[in-house]
Symmetry: C3
Subunit: 318 residues, 3 copies
């Protein structure tokens, strides 16, 4: 594995899940694999789960880990080419990425979308340039359009928690007070779509009209605007807000009815969310605090997802 | 030891001091005790001594240490239950604490008081919730009402530096330009009160009228408003500013006469302060720069206090 | 080596370069030298290359490394003596430096100049006080007037890349949109002046009138205002902006003609810059992206410079 940016970077999904289970069962089984290797974690945006789980994953593998928050400790990066840099950007991503790549064997990078310029966001301009100039394997810690470590942990959670061979998984939009990126739902859809094609799950998406995600991620997936119908017999409901893709970065509706509560939930349905979650805005507290919630299991699995990715890259380095 | 929040968490004070002396004499004697264990240090407020000493303590014990500044790298946490989270708080402490607890074997947490809502501060709402949901041992890196690692280091310093079997220790209020928390004086009073009950020291508090600390910490301790009388034959004078407890968070008096200088100090008296100190506001430079100051000894002992606490928790983990 | 603040701290320049080549050839050859030793990296200003390269250098030597950004995680330091600290400074450098020195075996410190008070900047008030009170070896991660780790990496790069025994090295001023410190050009001049005296290179400085650097760094060096003449047969051109020393901290001219482009560059000339660089303001993109640029080689050599300095100090510690 030379990079971990989307589900397309995973050659064998079932084997990847199986590897993650092995890593979880034996966290220090490869504690010398990362010896003399450096992991640089570069954050252009805030992070809690991703930061701590990936840092720990690197340490568990014996790597040297360096964490850098560019916004606070570093400075603004220019991404456009051909720009006379007489403004506020202190350094071009060409230089910065190449320098960071010289000090690291693997780089993790987080960079949120602008939610203003859809083309720049969806061509993953910053991420692609970083990968190009960095020259070492790059792990996405969430890019403008995807959050693959989250989705990998989510699929691992589903595989661990499923009670039937081929569970029904529903991604549902939820209300929020802010306009959020589509990265988590895009990525979840991309991973579940692949899992569905490989016969691991059945997958449906439900959201209010206007919240259609890019077809790049949902092609072939059943989409409905009837949430109640969609979640009725679901084994897993994945709850997440996102802002508009067509009306890019906009809040199109804030229908409170879309907030999941226990009344509308079957007893056998498990509820998932990537966190952080707005209690009683996105999801009812009673669900979060009850036995049907898997949010902490997902968060815990972030560690094993990250460690499996780093392990796989390290094995291919030498 | 399952947590380190107040002196009440220490079963045997004399033994704890003795352990700290052992750790100081042999810093790397338990360098494998923390192998495969992760220490997470979570700061909701700035830190210098506590941050560096606790990070180093964990490393000396062979732990993996992760430092996280929530305010800059993370985001604002909601602590109230039953709140519809449609405001500025991005994540509830229930989720955040549980997640952090999954990635760490021990968590250190710093959280200052609001100085506005005495009840919320003195019920230690944030800290107690964090400990409840985190589920792993939590070490206070200073909470709303206490700073136990500081007080432990202070008591260690007194035990090391005392010239008589049972020295006289005085806590004196000092002027400042800002309204400061009561955490350090509360904690010092709590620890010295315990030490006095165990026959280790004699303890007196002196402050201007209106600066009474909560009786929770000072019960049974002699309190006087006459500083000169109090410090006359003291072996150790602990200098510290704090804001009002009754008139909560207020500056009641700023009497410059309360600033200790060398004229009013006996030759045999040692002077202590937790740092950072406002020179010539809280304490005269001539004392800080002279042979009677123990401020650097205290700061150095912060490392051994932290390492002793972590060691004790690690020994009880397995 | 007891400190690394300027080229004067290097007893034997040729041997130092030779050591750096050894370290680069065998990065983990001294991986136990730093065992049980702590490196504290204290940043009063932002950093990318210096931060990552020095952190990694410490880790490569087996040190415990702690990184602290004072501005964000800590607080403002007072440097003046005899000041009643009733303003915004929370702690005096006397206390802070002494505390940090107790937790570290080596301290790296970054502190930029004010560019307002030349005397305070050029007496290196902050740095000298820090070194005095810290009591352990201090490595400059860039001070008000010098950036020796950069200059060491630059000289290593020249020694590696030179095609003739005694290459011609030119330092040229370049335009910028902001008033920048003189630390990098001062330091480069100081190191190249020493290298010239030891017969390793020929050295010339070129800049517009008014940009004269302090003679402390350039004494005996040929200075010309004719850039074209200076760079004509240069083997290495070091491009850098700086603000005025006489008219302290001022932008005196912003002559765009001084920006180096490929038209005015001989084919055999290599171009250097410390980074970050303002593309097409300081230096033409076509040069940065072309085969004559050494900027990434310099950045990579920052690691070996830092590791050589730390190794040398560690060897002298015991």
């Amino acid at each position: 594995m030379k990079k971990f940016f989307s589900v397309k970077d995973v050659p064998d999904l079932r084997k990847f899940i199986s590897e993650a289970k092995n890593v979880k069962a034996n966290p220090f089984g490869q504690e010398n694999l990362g010896k003399h290797k450096t992991l640089g974690l570069i954050f252009l945006n805030p992070s809690l789960r991703t930061r701590l789980s990936t840092q720990k994953a690197g340490l568990n593998l014996g790597m040297q880990v360096m964490v850098m928050n560019m916004g606070q400790e570093g400075w603004a990066l220019e991404t456009k080419d051909g720009v006379v840099m007489d403004g506020t950007s202190v350094e071009h991503i060409r230089e910065a990425a190449a320098v960071i790549g010289q000090y690291c064997d693997i780089v993790g990078l987080r960079s949120f979308p602008s939610l203003k310029d859809r083309e720049a966001d969806y061509t993953e301009e910053l991420f692609n340039k970083f990968m190009e100039f960095c020259k070492v394997p790059v792990v996405s810690l969430e890019s403008a359009t995807r959050h693959p470590l989250q989705s990998f942990a989510d699929l691992l959670t589903i595989e661990e928690e499923k009670k039937v061979e081929k569970p029904k998984v529903v991604l549902t939009w939820a209300p929020h007070v802010k306009a959020l990126p589509q990265a988590v739902p895009n990525s979840f859809a991309e991973w579940m779509n692949r899992a569905q094609k490989e016969g691991m799950i059945d997958f449906i998406i439900t959201h209010p009209k206007g919240y259609e995600l890019s077809e790049e991620f949902t092609e072939g997936v059943t989409i409905t605007h009837n949430q109640s119908e969609a979640i009725k017999d679901a084994d897993f409901v994945y709850v997440k807000n996102w802002s508009g893709f067509q009306e890019y970065g906009k809040i199109i509706a804030t229908d409170e009815e879309w907030m999941l509560n226990s009344k509308r939930l079957s007893n056998h349905t498990k509820v998932m969310h990537c966190l952080p979650v707005r209690r009683d805005v996105e999801l009812a507290s009673e669900i979060l605090d009850g036995p049907q919630s898997l949010v902490q299991t997902e968060a815990g699995n972030r560690l094993w997802a990250a460690q499996t990715v780093l392990k796989t890259i390290l094995e291919d380095l030498s």
